[in-house]
């Protein structure tokens, strides 16, 4: 039985995976932030990591990423910087955890890369077992990615 760490701002994915996956196929642990995720990864063995992308319910100070740098980059536009972090939080978490993950560690991010294969390839250079979750994919399909 695989153990999957889910990082999301809510519990939607956890609920879906837990209740809708085939019984006995996997267990799931949910965390809501990068810090918590890193702690879990350090403390427990996991067979995979599932990342939500949009964290618009997470407090700004809990969002991964360099907000100040973004504010500077966006010419002082803090709102835009926060939005950038929140809407791409999964990628920032991925960026943060990638150095700690073994090359063979499967990571699934809830993003459909079908229109951005080059982007996907760029990210896979850092996380070789990265998968994007296509739009419309089922739970069982998602679990197959691990």
């Amino acid at each position: 039985v695989k153990r999957i760490l889910i990082v999301e701002d809510g519990t939607e994915y956890l609920d879906a995976f837990t209740r809708l996956s085939a019984p006995g196929s996997a267990t799931f642990v949910r965390t809501g932030s990068l810090a918590e995720a890193l702690a879990r990864l350090d403390a427990e063995p996991f067979d995979g990591l599932f990342l939500d992308v949009v964290f618009d319910r997470t407090p700004v100070d809990e969002l991964a990423g360099d907000l100040d740098a973004l504010i500077t980059r966006f010419g002082g536009d803090r709102e835009r910087a926060v939005r950038q972090l929140a809407e791409n939080q999964g990628f920032y978490v991925l960026d943060a955890v990638a150095p700690r993950l073994p090359a063979e560690f499967p990571v699934v991010i809830a993003y459909d890369f079908s229109d951005e294969p080059q982007r996907f390839e760029r990210l896979r250079k850092r996380v070789p077992r990265l998968s994007g979750l296509p739009d419309g994919a089922s739970i069982s399909k998602a679990l197959e990615l691990f």
Partner: protein, 790 residues
């Protein structure tokens, strides 16, 4: 012996009177009157009414008070035959006076006859409809007639005519009854009233014609022929009266006309009918033309025993009357009045069997009354099938009333309405006109209602169809809207992003394996799955809630721009809409799963969820993304940029614009940016214009510009972007802050706004590496669409 004596006496008196009238006037008027009376009597005995009338008229000139009612009647009749209606009316008025002198009530027919003559003198006129009182009397008369209460019926028919003198139906009915009772003069008077009121009333014409034909008077027979001819004009479709007309003209002695009538009959007759008239046809053709007017007039041998029988019947001697009638029938089997009267007598004797037999013997196609009488008889005995057949025969014989009676028998059928309609056409003021009018009116009303209902249904259907088409065809699709307003793609991109993520992605996860999750044997797992689905679909942040809200926001965004989005005709969003609808319909069952639902409901539920999942397929999200990118993207082109630069410069040779980075490649790269071309051009036109303007303020400055383009990607998100650097050799300082709003006077504020609008970056930096001859560079960075240069 007595007859011979009378004849001799008649001849003698006639000769005497003729001599006295033609020579000198007799000094003794009394003698003259007496002689005139005697001559008239003798003429009457000899059956010469015309001569009798002439003598009576002479007597009346001298001693009118000695002229009795019967003589006046004769005078009136002769006057009428001569076309002297006024004279006839005067004679009848005298009769009325005689009755009054005797303090007796004048007979109804007398009044009616006077009225008829008045009407005939006044010429055709439109008669008022019968009064309600007259109609009531008529109705009661019919009831009495059906109950064989003839005396009461006669009184009531006459009352109806007295109340409404032009009441054709009452006159017809009275004529029929009088005729049946053997009261030929009264029947004739009644029919004359009917014809006077309605000269085109077929039944009245034929009935009157029949009665007049039975009269020995040749003038009356002539009138009968005229009436029958008029009836043929009115009903050329009825062959029988053509044949009857031919027979009568032949009897009258006019073989040529008879032949013509018979020819008209045979032209349209069946082969059998033609064969039946072959002998007559040959006879008529054999008649010499000059002999046609001298043929002897016919006179049935049955008339004498019939007349005796009539008197015996009136005296109540039924058996004797029946004997005489039997003799009349033997003498002339075609003489229908004999069996007709016999039927009346049998009915009075309550002998229905013989009455029916007599009625059947009396049937004559030329006499529609015989059919009516038999039909009434059969009706009273509940012989429905026979009644129908008899009325059909009557109708074929030309009895208009038969149409109404058949309609009554077939009431409720479509044919009944058709029969009533025909009746109304032939007898618009007929006995059954009210009833027929009501039925036809109701049928028409129903038809109109049906038509209007059908029309209304059709209109509603058209309306529904129109509404459906309107819903289907009106408004704009998302692609249509963005084709007209590509700039709105950027505005709605966040909405579409959320739709893709919250609805399409989560929808796939939740719904794709619905059958597996809800169809398992584990009730607990099924219940948990259902609960989860319900909460994720219908909760506050549920898929259905969010999808509905996002679609509404899309609609509202379009509406703010004056567009109405129609999701029904939108090839992409219709799928989302369909999925939402399926999910909404699934709610009750899904929420009921933990409590238990039927297998069928569960199957329906999973089918719905699968349909929703199919609608929310991955292609939907991708298509939405492509739609936005196609609507609002710009392919960067070096050629376009140099043209923009030349345009900003105006006339003359523009300063050099050096291609750097991928612009220097061969061919130059041409990335695609998420930005409308118009904004893209505005940015560069402002930048070029600003540079040109700045250079003009620097005397002696030979402006040089370099434009660098390079692809890059975000190190964290991996997202691709394109970086542009516009390098110049203008010594004036320029900072990022100046560009971001504080150098609006140089057009840079517009640039900053547009860059921000398209999620780009703008800055001021050093010139591109290796291109230090330039003094600075304005740096622009825009998200790029991941696409290889074609």
């Amino acid at each position: 012996l007595r007859g011979a004596f009378l004849a001799v006496f008649l001849l003698a008196v006639s000769a005497t009177v003729a001599v006295s009238q033609d020579s000198q006037p007799c000094p003794d008027e009394v003698d003259l009157v007496l002689l005139s009376f005697q001559a008239a009597d003798a003429a009457l005995v000899a059956g010469d009414e015309e001569t009798a009338a002439r003598h009576l008229a002479a007597a009346a000139q001298v001693a009118p008070e000695l002229i009795g009612a019967e003589e006046r009647l004769l005078l009136a009749r002769q006057a009428e035959l001569a076309g002297n209606r006024k004279g006839a009316q005067v004679q009848l008025a005298h009769i009325q006076t005689l009755f009054m002198r005797r303090q007796e009530r004048p007979p109804e027919w007398l009044k009616l006859k006077i009225l008829q003559l008045e009407m005939e003198q006044a010429g055709p006129r439109v008669l008022a409809p019968p009064s309600p009182e007259a109609q009531d009397a008529f109705a009661r008369a019919k009831t009495a007639a059906r109950a064989e209460r003839s005396d009461q019926a006669l009184l009531l028919y006459r009352k109806a005519l007295r109340l409404s003198p032009g009441y054709v139906e009452a006159a017809l009915a009275l004529g029929t009854l009088e005729s049946r009772l053997g009261h030929s003069p009264e029947a004739i008077a009644a029919y004359r009233t009917a014809v006077a009121a309605d000269p085109d009333r077929y039944e009245a014409l034929v009935s009157l014609s029949d009665l007049l034909w039975e009269e020995p008077d040749r003038e009356l027979k002539a009138e009968s022929l005229r009436l029958l001819d008029h009836a043929i004009e009115l009903r050329p479709d009825l062959l029988r009266i053509r044949k009857e007309s031919a027979e009568r003209w032949a009897d009258w002695g006019d073989a040529a006309t008879a032949l013509e009538r018979l020819s008209a009959y045979r032209d349209r007759a069946t082969p059998e009918e033609r064969a039946a008239t072959d002998r007559r046809w040959q006879q008529l053709r054999a008649v010499r033309p000059d002999a046609t007017t001298s043929a002897p007039e016919s006179s049935s041998r049955a008339k004498i025993p019939f007349g005796i029988a009539r008197r015996l019947y009136e005296q109540g001697s039924f058996e004797e009357a029946l004997e005489k009638l039997a003799q009349a029938e033997r003498d002339d089997p075609t003489f229908s009045p004999a069996p007709d009267l016999a039927a009346t007598i049998y009915l009075a004797m309550k002998d229905d069997v013989r009455a029916e037999a007599a009625l059947r013997r009396a049937l004559r196609p030329s006499d529609v009354r015989t059919y009516e009488r038999l039909a009434n008889f059969l009706e009273r005995h509940g012989r429905t099938a026979d009644v129908t057949k008899t009325w059909e025969d009557a109708e074929r014989a030309g009895l208009t009333k038969a149409l109404a009676r058949l309609a009554q028998l077939q009431r409720g059928t479509r044919n009944s309405v058709a029969l009533y309609r025909r009746y109304l056409e032939q007898a618009p003021n007929g006995e059954f006109a009210d009833e027929a009018g009501a039925v036809v009116g109701e049928a028409d009303r129903r038809q109109r209602f049906a038509l209007s209902t059908a029309s209304a249904v059709g209109l509603v259907a058209l309306g529904v169809l129109g509404a459906a088409l309107y819903l289907r065809l009106s408004g704009a699709t998302l692609a249509g809207w963005l084709a007209k307003e590509p700039g709105q793609a950027r505005e709605i991109r966040p909405l579409v992003g959320r739709l893709r993520h919250e609805v399409l992605k989560h929808g796939g996860l939740l719904l794709t394996d619905a059958r597996t999750r809800l169809g398992g044997d584990d009730a607990l797992a099924r219940s948990e799955a259902a609960q989860l689905l319900a909460s994720r679909l219908y909760g506050e942040r549920g898929l259905v809630t969010q999808a509905t809200a996002l679609l509404d926001e899309l609609k509202a965004a379009a509406r703010r721009r004056g567009f109405t989005l129609n999701f029904r005709k939108d090839p992409i969003l219709s799928r989302v809409k369909q999925a939402v609808a399926e999910l909404k319909r699934s709610r009750r069952t899904l929420e009921g799963v933990p409590r238990g639902v039927s297998e069928k409901a569960l199957r329906n539920l999973t089918a719905r969820l699968e349909r929703a999942a199919t609608a929310l397929n991955p292609a939907t999200g991708n298509q939405l993304g492509h739609l936005l990118d196609d609507a609002a993207s710009t392919r960067v082109s070096w050629d376009d940029l140099t043209r923009l630069f030349a345009s900003a410069h105006g006339r003359g040779e523009p300063p050099p614009l050096e291609p750097l980075g991928f612009f220097a490649e061969d061919p130059p790269a041409s990335p695609r940016l998420r930005m409308e071309p118009q904004d893209w051009e505005t940015i560069w036109r402002n930048l070029f214009t600003n540079a040109l303007h700045e250079s003009e303020t620097r005397a002696g400055l030979a402006l040089r510009l370099g434009l660098l383009g390079e692809r890059q990607s975000d190190p964290i998100t991996g997202q691709e972007s394109v970086r542009f650097v516009l390098a110049d050799n203008i010594p004036r300082a320029l900072t990022a802050d100046m560009i971001r709003g504080r150098a609006a006077e140089r057009g840079l504020g517009v640039v900053a706004d547009l860059v921000r609008k398209h999620d780009g970056l703008v800055d001021v930096g050093p010139p591109p590496r290796g291109r230090e001859t330039y003094l600075k560079g304005i740096v622009l960075e825009f998200p790029a669409l991941e696409e290889e240069t074609p």
